[in-house]
Symmetry: C2
Subunit: 243 residues, 2 copies
Amino acid sequence: MKLLSAEELEAALRDIGAKRYHRLHPFHGLLHSGQCTKGQVQAWALNRYYYQATIPIKDASLIARCEDSALRREWRSRLVDHDGAQEGDGGIARWLKLTDGVGLDRDYVTSLKGLLPGTRFAVDAYVHFVREKSLLEAVASSLTELFSPAIIGERMAGMLAHYDFISQETLAYFDKRPPQAKRDADFALDYVKRNAKTPERQQAVLAALEFKCGVLWSMLDVLAYAYVAPKLVPPGAFVPVDH
Amino acid sequence: MKLLSAEELEAALRDIGAKRYHRLHPFHGLLHSGQCTKGQVQAWALNRYYYQATIPIKDASLIARCEDSALRREWRSRLVDHDGAQEGDGGIARWLKLTDGVGLDRDYVTSLKGLLPGTRFAVDAYVHFVREKSLLEAVASSLTELFSPAIIGERMAGMLAHYDFISQETLAYFDKRPPQAKRDADFALDYVKRNAKTPERQQAVLAALEFKCGVLWSMLDVLAYAYVAPKLVPPGAFVPVDH
């Protein structure tokens, strides 16, 4: 292990994104190219809801272990983004507009009764990672946001073009995210570059981003297995009408 | 919710097993009927190793939160079963005979470098469940062992009959397990029946067993997606020679 310069560390992080980010997963291709059935889009939205709903718990877990007031203050903006300033505002509420828009019952979605177990395990693994690893690794695990503006762009344009049950309003979540994600990713990348100053800490940062790519990738694996092929829905999970 | 008798509770637990235990998963059928390639058997053994290696951590987590000396003493036998009395003894060591026997490098297996992220998330979810839920739910989550003697019988007979790279010695793990599993499951079932004396606690017990069935099921979902169809191995995970 050698010590990387800040630029080399950033390049290594971006290389992980180029190879492991879930934009490369075939389910993403199916979704944005219009090849999903409505039931598959519902299953995606329902499972992804748990990720969205858990992000503020993940972020609060990070703030809770952080002794630096400035970092806590900075990270707090993520809570605002997801939970909003009042009822009906924020990323989770906008995600529920998406699940409404694709025809899912809101109480069913938020009950999590139809969630794939594999989705729950992947998302919960992210929370546990942030609670149990070093603060530097917890910050680094958020760096998938470096790559999210591109995937969101593909997803929005593709879904609007290809699905008659998707409107601009349904996709309000994605309208708001890119500038938030860019601000957050810029901050986290700068933090990581300033704080990963030994080879060991740099390797831990890279491993944290690989871990997080694994979380997002695994969510699409279990989704594709249950709803695309072989379409084997685990006992108890959501079964779309057109399954 | 109504209060179930001890017999009704046991029947409800057995019904969950009949509907959700991973004996019903198609990968189990492929494995014991000889339809797996050697690479698929390797991938199964490698991923399942992480489950085996984590079980004593799970069991110690349960003992660690248990104020009753008698229960701690009883549960300690599980540590002995998996970690053995000395080096080379116990369930984990016997599992490594299986991974040796199917041609995997032992250092590679124990490094966990080739593990599927979804396997890690499912197994870790089990540990976190045992640490975070009530002691009663932690005990109840072990009750999949009620159903394991049957699956082990099918697996041993089928694998010995169908794979020329599998010997009785390779399967030493499974020789030892059924009596241990029966003893442990009898104890845990009796504990649950004696301690789940309100409708709420009974429902929590049933949900704990459903959760655990989801862990085992999800492990086979991610295995089948990566190694059977569409054979999409997540970046960084084990790729068999015959993949």
